[in-house]
């Protein structure tokens, strides 16, 4: 009987799998990030590559160190650390001095080693790693005095030599929001939409961000609930509190935050109702930071702060918005 030709395997049902894995999803996320990355390289120059290289190195290093320390398997192949590094790189100011390289590398390290792996582990972290690292770096070098003084020492040791080197080409213009707050000329909306030379790499092209976001929705990795509720809430408040609502819609990290940061699976609600609440919450917080907190140290990080604050509420949002299961209520 030729049944014996083939080795027979047994395993529990189901015996099919969709083939979508963490790595393939991260590949999709990578593709979604490509348009804005390429446009930012085109607009801001090679410094973006250097910036990304530092944050990615930091993020990969962070995973290796944290996992080794915790005795867990290092899984760089799944691409999650790489994506964290890219996400962080895209939201940092693009003007990289040599002396900032250790700082940004530490940012990437902080994202994966501390925020993700030490505070829960893959899939369990409460706060968005890239945004948390962005907030840390917002406080700049001063924060390092307390957190990791050795990094400052390293960069200071290098500084005399580095000063002799050419400073990287500093083409970046003032961020649109900064320009607005200083009463400088506001850039054309159309240039902010297609390609603008100011702010972080993620802010260079609203359309490229949108394209990436739509790609993620089409591929089924995110649902539109969070971006739509977050952007529309903010826009309505901008209509009320600002003379330039469209400018606020396109300026700053709102769009990038809405599609790539607030939708982070691990740190956003699972329920659809919860996702809408979450988006509304971020929109309100962001409007508060943009329109009522004048301090510049908060304004550039407004999106990061709003999302990370709402991250903290996710377990409660999920609990209170749990959907009724099948057969829980009769519908006839």
């Amino acid at each position: 009987m030729n049944i014996d030709r083939s080795p027979i395997k047994t395993s529990p049902a189901p015996h099919f799998h969709s083939g979508v894995t963490i790595s393939s999803a991260m590949k999709d996320l990578f593709i979604a990030l490509l348009p804005v990355t390429l446009i930012s390289i085109f607009m801001l120059g090679a410094q973006v590559l250097l910036l990304l290289a530092t944050t990615i190195t930091g993020a990969l290093l962070g995973e290796v160190v944290a996992r080794k320390y915790r005795g867990e398997e290092v899984t760089l192949y799944d691409g999650t650390a790489l994506i964290s590094g890219i996400l962080l790189g895209l939201i940092l100011p693009p003007t990289v001095w040599w002396a900032m390289i250790p700082l940004y590398t530490f940012g990437g390290f902080f994202a994966t080693a501390i925020v993700r792996d030490a505070l829960g582990g893959l899939g369990r972290n409460r706060f968005n790693p890239a945004l948390s690292a962005r907030i840390l770096l917002l406080f700049g070098r001063s924060s390092l005095v307390y957190l990791a003084p050795f990094i400052l020492e390293i960069s200071e040791a290098f500084e005399p030599y580095l000063h002799q080197l050419e400073v990287l080409d500093l083409v970046s213009a003032a961020t649109p929001l900064y320009a607005a707050s200083e009463g400088l000329a506001i850039p054309e909306l159309s240039s902010m939409l297609f390609a603008y030379q100011g702010g972080s790499p993620a802010e260079t092209s609203a359309l490229a961000v949108l394209a990436g976001g739509i790609y993620l929705i089409i591929r089924g990795h995110i649902k539109p609930h969070i971006p739509v509720s977050m952007i529309s809430t903010f826009f309505i408040l901008a209509l009320i509190f600002s003379a330039q609502p469209f400018f606020h819609l396109l300026g700053g990290g709102l769009l990038f935050g809405a599609f790539f940061m607030a939708t982070d699976w691990v740190t956003c609600p699972l329920t659809r109702k919860g996702q809408i609440l979450f988006g509304i919450g971020i929109g309100i917080l962001l409007a508060f930071f943009r329109f009522f907190v004048a301090d510049l140290w908060v304004s550039p990080g407004g999106v990061a702060f709003s999302i990370v604050i709402m991250n903290g509420f996710v377990p409660y949002i999920d609990r209170f918005t749990a959907r009724p299961k099948y057969g829980q209520q009769r519908r006839d």
Partner: protein
């Protein structure tokens, strides 16, 4: 009637592979040398044997008498001689008393002449015939049909749903039956209406079987019966999902379809009822799909109950691949992988598949990354991702109390979509057993 097509969120498009057998007419295989007829073909109590070793049995002769309220008679699928009555595996990890019959070379030609006129029978008489014929649900669960036809006091059946959704990949049993036995199906549905006292009946198939819909519409001559389609999606053929798609109603959690006045019957069961009533033919054979990329000759076959799986596979050309193969009893989503082919075909066997093991795309289990794909796909709207994590961490009480583990219908779609390759469905199946054991122990402890 308005059909709410989005009542359950699953939009997962499975690879179906039904084309392997959907054009293949139902045929018969050569008879095996011996058959292994289990005395427990169904959910409920096993039968007591009515024959002894050495007895001659006639085709269709009752050989097992049902015990208790939930049970179904067992009949001889062939004429022959009883060789043995002994414990024999009937499924992976399950044994039961089986009557082993040596199949006689000459078989009588029976059950082809009409012996009764369905018009003249009362509901009670139909149920009695169904009872005597050992008919059980032929969609997989094998629940004794007479029990379903008689709801407990105070409950009435208003609607009969005949389930031709057949949502599992590969399987084309119901599809072929709808095409080839549409008239018997309509007549069987009329019998179900009469037996259950319902006023309306609906036959539903998924909209990937429109040829079957057309033939059934042509065969349908009863205004009480409506034939229609539901969207093709997994697990549309689950009783609860079909009720929702067809009637826009939900079976209450922990309840049964008759709680909302619905009786769901499988296509094969409905035809078996017709044949039992008109030809006095007990349930001694059924159609199964033998398919999969690794089977030499896929097809749909009428197979007598008790035929060993090895015989069926052999008759279908055997397994043709050199790569590792999964032989499945049932579909790829809910079927059980087996390696013992002495297991017989049962009343609830819907298909035998030989598929490449690579279809599972097995990888190492990773932590849940909350991607939400399982929660979005779950047809009963529970949260498989939370269940999976809870079970992994041993928080079984929480799985039961907070995350509704007992509402799970084990359709397997959560494991299918899990990008962390977590065996969520398997975790849930095992945890359900464990929780039941824990609760029983707790109950016993309380009594002492």
């Amino acid at each position: 009637m308005k059909i709410d097509r989005d009542m359950f969120p699953g939009v997962i498009k499975l690879p179906y592979f039904k084309i392997l057998t959907s054009e293949k007419k139902i045929s018969r295989l050569d008879q095996p040398e011996r058959v292994t007829v289990s005395l427990k073909q169904h959910i409920g109590e096993p039968c007591t044997p009515l024959v002894e070793v050495g007895d001659r049995v006639e085709l269709g002769q009752k050989i097992g008498e049902p015990e208790g309220d939930v049970s179904a008679a067992v009949h001889a699928p062939y004429s022959g001689e009883v060789l043995d009555i002994k414990k024999h595996p009937i499924d992976v990890g399950e044994e039961a008393d089986c009557v082993i019959i040596k199949v006689a070379e000459e078989q009588p030609d029976k059950f082809t002449e009409q012996v009764r006129d369905p018009e003249e029978l009362t509901a009670e008489e139909i149920i009695e015939i169904v009872q005597q014929s050992g008919i059980v649900g032929m969609g997989g669960a094998a629940f004794p049909t007479p029990v379903k036809l008689q709801p407990p006091k105070g409950k009435t059946i208003e609607t009969v749903l005949v389930n031709g959704a057949e949502c599992e990949p590969y399987l084309t049993v119901d599809h072929r039956l709808m095409l080839e036995k549409a008239e018997e199906l309509i007549e069987g549905t009329k019998l179900l209406l009469k037996a259950s006292g319902a006023e309306e009946a609906m036959i539903y198939t998924e909209d990937n079987k429109l040829d079957a819909l057309k033939i059934m519409e042509e065969a349908n001559d009863d205004p009480r019966i409506c034939v229609d389609t539901v969207p093709t999606k997994y697990p549309q053929g689950s009783e609860k999902m079909l009720i929702q798609a067809a009637l826009n109603k939900q079976v209450p959690s922990g309840g049964l379809p008759f709680d909302i006045g619905v009786l769901v019957q499988n296509i094969g069961t409905t035809i078996a009822i017709y044949e039992a009533v008109v030809y006095d033919k007990p349930l001694i054979e059924r159609v199964i799909t033998v398919s999969g990329q690794n089977i030499a000759e896929p097809g749909n076959h009428m197979i007598p109950i008790g035929t060993p799986v090895s015989h069926v596979l052999e008759q279908c050309g055997g397994i043709k691949s050199d790569n590792s193969t999964l032989v499945l009893n049932g579909g790829p989503m809910m079927g059980v992988a087996m390696d013992d082919f002495s297991i017989p075909v049962m009343k609830g066997t819907i298909g035998l598949l030989a598929i490449p093991a690579s279809m599972e795309k097995t990888k190492k289990m990773r932590p849940c990354v909350r991607c939400n794909k399982c929660n979005e796909a779950c047809p009963v709207l529970i949260y498989p991702s939370y269940l999976s994590v809870c079970i992994e961490e041993g928080r079984l009480e929480e799985a039961a109390e907070v995350w509704d583990i007992f509402d799970c219908i084990e359709c397997g779609i959560c494991s299918y979509v899990c990008m962390s390759h977590r065996p969520i469905a398997q975790q849930i199946r095992e945890a359900k057993q464990q929780i039941k054991v824990i609760r029983e122990q707790a109950a016993e402890g309380g009594n002492n």
